[in-house]
Amino acid sequence: MRPDLMVVAGMVPRGSRVLDLGCGEGDLLEELIVARGCRGQGVEVSDEAFHACVARGIAVVQADIDEGLDFDDHAFDVVVLSQTLQAVRRPAPVLREVMRVGRVGIVSFPNFGHWRLRLALGARGRMPVSRTLPYRWYETPNIHLCTIRDFEDLAGAEGLRVGGRRLLGEDGRAAPAWAERRPNLLAAGAVYLLTR
């Protein structure tokens, strides 16, 4: 499993009812169900990832999360939006939907303020390609990149409280403690626990 997903999994309470938006092939959900006693439900738009989930027995609804979520208010304890926010067409409404159907939201994204990306754009004048953002500009699924500061502004504007934050290094693992000094410059990504 991707190391950043282990960080996300670590923030999900045991035994909770979890919705994973953009669940891919269900790696995170399988970890949560098998190792953490959660009840898991996925949403995934891609046909192949959908079939992969079905083949391994992950409950998955095929849907485009940009079109809103067909779930009742607070139907889930935790809604995970992992490395997906930057790929949706309308991040703010998606974030609102996350907080509508879940009591708690866990959102992770790559930090476009990371020094390596700033260097690529600022010094070299090139759209950055890195381990966390491995696509060239014309083939990237990421259309709404933001920095840690940008995201915190959005969360604040949406009236959300940050209940916890883990910074991620370039390898996707939890970043070393010194990154906390200048997160927007030193972290390659972040995972937020959001509450209302």
């Binding site: 009840r39 898991g40 095929q62 067909d70 779930f71």
Partner: protein, 381 residues
């Protein structure tokens, strides 16, 4: 994909008798109740590989294989057989004719033991739970405690859903295809017109046409023609018929069959008469009208909270009889109560009838889902 199950025979069992009658939701009791059913594949030693197929409005027990003429296959032959999604090399598939039907199971055309005459409209009104009671009696009769799945499209999907609600945890899984948890006003309106056509036929005789030696054929054929329109999509009709005329170049300027689509509908109506009873049509459409699976929120919560039954819900994007919104409603309620749900809308140009067709993406979804349910005990993903 795969081959057919080959030659099969319909079997019969008397599941309820005068000493042990069937108690219906309406309060009425019914006995005897005989059920026609077919089975395909072999039941495992531990009886854990049974899949119950629930048929739609006008289906019957003959779901797969043939009765002697290999060209005439059961109504769901495309999905049942060795190597097919309902893989008879792995699964023991059971399909029975519905209570209230007319193809071997007790229904309004059966003899009422109290009078010695066909029931007609004296047959009791039924609910989907009543249909499920009979399915459960049949699987008990076959020595099966926990079916791997109940699978059905349209009215069949409603039975699979109701089964999961009536007997929480009894099913390993429920596969609910192009169905609804409750009909819309538009759905009920179509049923109402169909019933008007039947009951307004001069040969209906208050449902006692059996004794008059006639049948309300015009009404029943009209009902079928109307229903058939709702089973196809606009696009599939355009592809199939367009505005082409039947056997001619120019219009006849009359009210006889002139367009190909008219001829097709007339054929559908006529061939339906050979296999279906008008009273059964009235009763089974009424069962659907009254269906409201999640009407009681307390019962729904009790049935679904912590259930071990896994759900697969499938809709088709061109189905306007029970469009995707109906399936989404089912998914929403199931997920609200924490039940694990797999759902997708499959692309198909063929409308409601898509569930009967060999659409690879649809078959792959059902087949993969059932394979996984079969390979893992409950609660393990």
């Amino acid at each position: 994909m795969g081959v057919s199950v080959g030659r099969v025979e319909t079997q019969r069992a008397v599941l309820f008798t005068a000493d042990r009658p069937l108690a219906l939701d309406s309060g009425a009791v019914l006995a005897p109740v005989e059920v026609a059913y077919e089975t395909y594949g072999r039941l495992d030693a531990d009886r854990s590989n049974a899949i119950v197929v629930c048929h739609a409005l006008t289906g019957d027990a003959h779901a797969a294989g043939h009765h002697g003429d290999p060209a005439k296959r059961g109504w769901w032959d495309s999905i049942i057989g060795p190597g097919r999604p309902l893989d008879t090399d792995r699964f023991f598939v059971v399909c029975s004719n519905l209570l209230g039907g007319c193809q071997g199971t007790t229904g309004p055309s059966s003899t009422d033991p109290a009078t010695g005459r066909p029931y007609g409209l004296r047959f009791p009104l039924m609910t989907i739970s009543d249909l499920v009671r009979v399915h459960r009696a049949l699987i008990a009769h076959l020595g099966i405690e926990r079916p791997l799945a109940a699978v059905g499209g349209s009215l069949g999907g409603m039975q699979a859903l109701q089964w999961a609600l009536d007997a929480p945890g009894e099913l390993e899984s429920a596969v609910v295809i192009c169905a609804s948890s409750r009909l819309s006003a538009q759905n009920i309106a179509f049923s109402a017109v169909a019933r008007e056509a039947i009951m307004g036929d001069p040969d209906f005789h208050g449902g006692d046409y059996y004794e008059h030696g006639v049948r309300p054929d015009r009404g029943l054929a009209t009902a079928r023609m109307l229903a058939h329109i709702t089973y196809l999509s606009e696009e599939s009709m355009r592809r199939k018929f367009g505005r082409r005329l039947q056997d001619r170049e120019t219009p006849r300027f009359g009210f006889d069959v002139d367009f190909q689509v008219e001829s097709y509908l007339r054929h559908q109506g006529a061939s339906f008469l050979r296999r279906f009873d008008a009273n059964s049509y009235l009763y089974l459409t009424r069962v659907m009208d009254y269906f409201d699976a999640f009407a009681d929120p307390v019962a729904t919560a009790r049935a679904l909270e912590g259930t071990s039954t896994r759900f697969l819900v499938v809709s088709f994007d061109s189905d306007w009889r029970f469009d995707t919104a109906h399936s989404r409603e089912i998914v929403r309620t199931l997920t609200t109560h924490g039940a694990p749900v797999t759902f997708r809308e499959v692309a198909s140009p063929f409308g409601h009838d898509s569930f009967l067709l060999d659409i690879p993406d649809y078959h792959r979804t059902v087949g993969t889902f059932l394979q996984h349910v079969h390979s893992t005990p409950a609660g393990v993903p």
